[in-house]
Symmetry: D2
Subunit: 303 residues, 4 copies
């Protein structure tokens, strides 16, 4: 585990006040810092300073951050990028708010990835001494933490190799053109035992399909969808199960049009578990287990 | 409570063997009798001889049955029909298998309704002496009981009046053209404290929109949708919540094309609870709480 | 359905301020009126003026109320009491706050029962026009409504007969000394299709074992138990299933020592469903399905 | 992640036929091999040859196995043991059925631990090509996989150090005599991101408190407890939540008296998450979140 997890996503939103309402009042994230044109947020169960940064102006992904297990991992990853042949530079403490020295990488798909080990510790809302299992007073759907993200790339196989070679991730599930093909239509990669930390689907480079938050279970998803209706959140896909990962899901949009997900369940990943392979004829069921059909908007609409 | 409940539905299916597979292996209903071209079924928690009759040939509703609380209720209901001005005739024990003397009514919408008090008692699978809460070995999604049905009628207001005047039902929820309008786009009627025993939506007379089975809860609906995918059942609407009734639902089709529902939750109805009124501008959310949109197929496709 | 439901319970509490905190902040009931030494409360999904009255001084049940379906039911019930040979008197509008004319009965077990048809209508928090399924902002465990109560009586069989003869209730489940015995150790009675509106267990006359609130499902019970831990509510029985009624339950105490319950699930009762009979050798499992053992405190401790 | 997970537990049972009935028909494990006096089992979602070995004669833990990520990890771990000063020996392929070359270690607490990288691959029941989320036909409570175990040790602090130094595990939660004390009453250790792979509680060396299986969620726990009642499984602790780990649990006994657990939920562990500390005054709530009391049997009864 060189990479602990997807540490943060930084996305552009057209209207920061509107976005704040969505992420804070409906999703229940906490504001941890504000700068002109920027808002830093975390879930109640996260200890690092932020996991979501909203940046006013436009829509889509600005950058994402991976937190390493150890400081030494930074050097190894830097070398890995160089060996792979992608672009990498050093970044200094404070270039990104509350984040220490690190490296900034551009993936083959053009996504900016910041890798760091140091970030200001804030602690969770329940604390770590004789804690209760969740906060007594919850806001909106009270999301505990960022979970994963799905980016678009023109060359999925190349980018899968990038995340494997550079970050030591491994593919948990893949959609391949044919069962034994080296080609990739999509791939789900884990850095540890999370079902996936990042996924890549064929599409426009630099694209963001969605970023996802943890949700406790299927019952919480129902409550989330009900509250989305009350708060007039645009739901893209109502509660259902993914064939891929077995997870349960709702897709919805923030006011700027970035796709969010609340994700629950899914099995624990292990590097010795065989990679699950999906073929195009079963793709509909792979994505949405119940309809067994992909709606065009799901693959074509992203930021 | 003159009427205890919707006792049975008798529907036509194009292929009895295919239908048997669906209702028995996937839905978990039990076969209680077979006749040439007919199959009698019940859920594990029902005590009467049958709640579903499948009849080979075509598609759609053949007739439905209401069970009365007492034998005397039959006379009262007969008089009510005559007063209302609809057609009614006596039916004799055995005309419908395992069912006693009763009356046969044609509703203004052209639906055939058999009303009876006597039906052969078979008992539930768990029994009534020191019982366990459910059968130790369950089949498919193991539906416990028939719940309600939704029929189509050209004149909803007239048919609502019919069910109120003749059977003593009361409207639990209504869709009205305007808030105070006497017109009805749809109505949900209860004979007791069930959320609804029968609902009526504007459409072709004699039409069947769906009949529904009880499901224990939202988790059971997820399991049902998963098993429908495994058994290749055509799902019409994936797990979601109704605004109307607050119930949770999956709509799906039997192999002949009759729409089925598994329904859970919904509040307990009382005659002193105000009738809930929905207006056309909120209709989408009334039907499907999460998408807040009616798909055309949902209102236009029925048998 | 002469009786719609258990309309309210009025219980004594040693400290009204403490009790208010429990019923309002933890259970989520709403205060609808206050008088010196008295507090009137209702759940968010109830429409009548109150379902719980707290009265300062002591502990235990002061009286309970049944709401009738129609005003005429009052006369019938009055006659039924006289025929049965129990004590009944007329009560006038306003004797009980916001409640109309009615009758006041003393059951053989010495419990005071007020029967009324008229009570001030307040309406639910979600309203009845294009409503959402639950309030957007919930307090504590946000109980929607009063469900049932369990009283103690020295002669259970006599009191069961009383509730049947006077109120037209029917026994849904019974514990009998032997399978065919006319004796009753306990009985669960329904006035409609609710699993039970009132239950009676052998014990000291005038005793209150518990009164119960509806809870949506098993997941809500987990959340309730978690919040009880946070709010230091004394839990008597942690989440489990009843064999009797199949319901899911938590028993806990209010600060004065009155036992409360949150109850979810349980089948829909019908008068043609056979009464379920429990025998003493299976009694433990009847009460608590999982431990299959009765703890002495559960039967011996009540108010 | 040198250690992937707790690979298997081998326990003694007094009667192999009785135990088989329990683990296969009630828990839903699959038999993968039988030898005289031994039974090899796995859950439906596991791919390795076995995760539970039952050995006829007596009761308690015989040995446990850890699977490494890579073959090279064996050498590192062997050196770690030597540095720590515990006993280790090489074991050869086949000494343990279907398991490759490895090392056999005796922990300070006297437990035998086999460490291996190679074990015959059988695969899960759902497979890895376009799979469904669970098997269409499930047996009993259909447990997917072994989760963790809790062993007893006279010196918890020493054994915690052993698992940290030798296997690279880290403490996720601890019970300490005082907040800053180096002493340990109990400790929960993770080898990756699982909430815990092994826990140690103060008690008799070589003791086994319980071994636990994954369960999907709180609803599955209710179903499990219901089926335990039907199958006459002795339940030790009915469905509740742990304060420690936030997990949901049922404790029960196999017919020989070994304690089993089904465990669901619990947060994802990370090495940079602060270790949660419990103090003795909150210990009851730490173990059982709802009763907030430790029953004596829970700490004193083990095998």
């Amino acid at each position: 585990m060189a990479i602990l997890r997807l540490g943060y996503v930084q996305v552009r939103v057209t209207d920061l006040a509107e976005a704040k309402k969505h992420y804070v009042e409906t999703l229940g994230l906490k504001v941890t810092a504000e700068e002109p044109g920027k808002l830093y947020l975390k879930g109640w169960d996260e200890w690092d300073h932020h996991s979501v940064v909203l940046q006013e102006g436009g829509v889509g992904i600005e950058k994402l951050g991976f937190k390493t297990h150890k400081n030494e991992d930074l050097d190894v990853i830097e070398k890995n990028v160089q060996t792979f042949g992608a672009s990498v530079e050093r970044m200094s403490k404070g270039e990104s708010l509350e984040i220490g020295d690190g490296i900034r990488i551009t993936s083959p798909s053009g996504h900016t990835i910041e890798v760091y080990n140091e970030i200001t510790f804030l602690g969770s809302e329940t604390g770590y001494i004789n804690p209760y299992p969740f906060p007594r007073h919850e806001v909106g759907i009270s999301l505990p933490a960022l979970d994963h993200m799905l980016i678009m790339a023109e060359d999925v196989a190349l980018n899968e190799k990038f995340f494997m070679d550079v970050f030591g991730m491994y593919p948990v599930e893949q959609i391949r053109p044919e069962l034994d093909s080296p080609g990739r239509i999509a791939t789900w990669l884990s850095a540890g035992q999370k079902n996936h930390d990042i996924a890549i689907v064929a599409g426009r480079d630099k694209g963001l399909h969605h970023f996802a938050f943890q949700s406790e279970n299927w019952d919480k998803l129902l409550r989330a969808a009900d509250i989305f209706a009350m708060d007039d959140v645009s739901i893209d896909v109502t509660p259902t199960r993914h064939g891929i990962t077995r997870g349960q899901t709702i897709y919805f949009f923030d006011p700027a049009g970035n796709r969010n997900e609340t994700f629950s369940g899914g099995y624990r990943a292990y590097p010795d578990r065989p990679t699950v392979i999906w073929t195009p004829d079963q793709l509909g069921r792979g994505i949405f287990s119940h309809t067994r059909e992909l709606n065009a908007a799901f693959t074509e609409v992203y930021t």
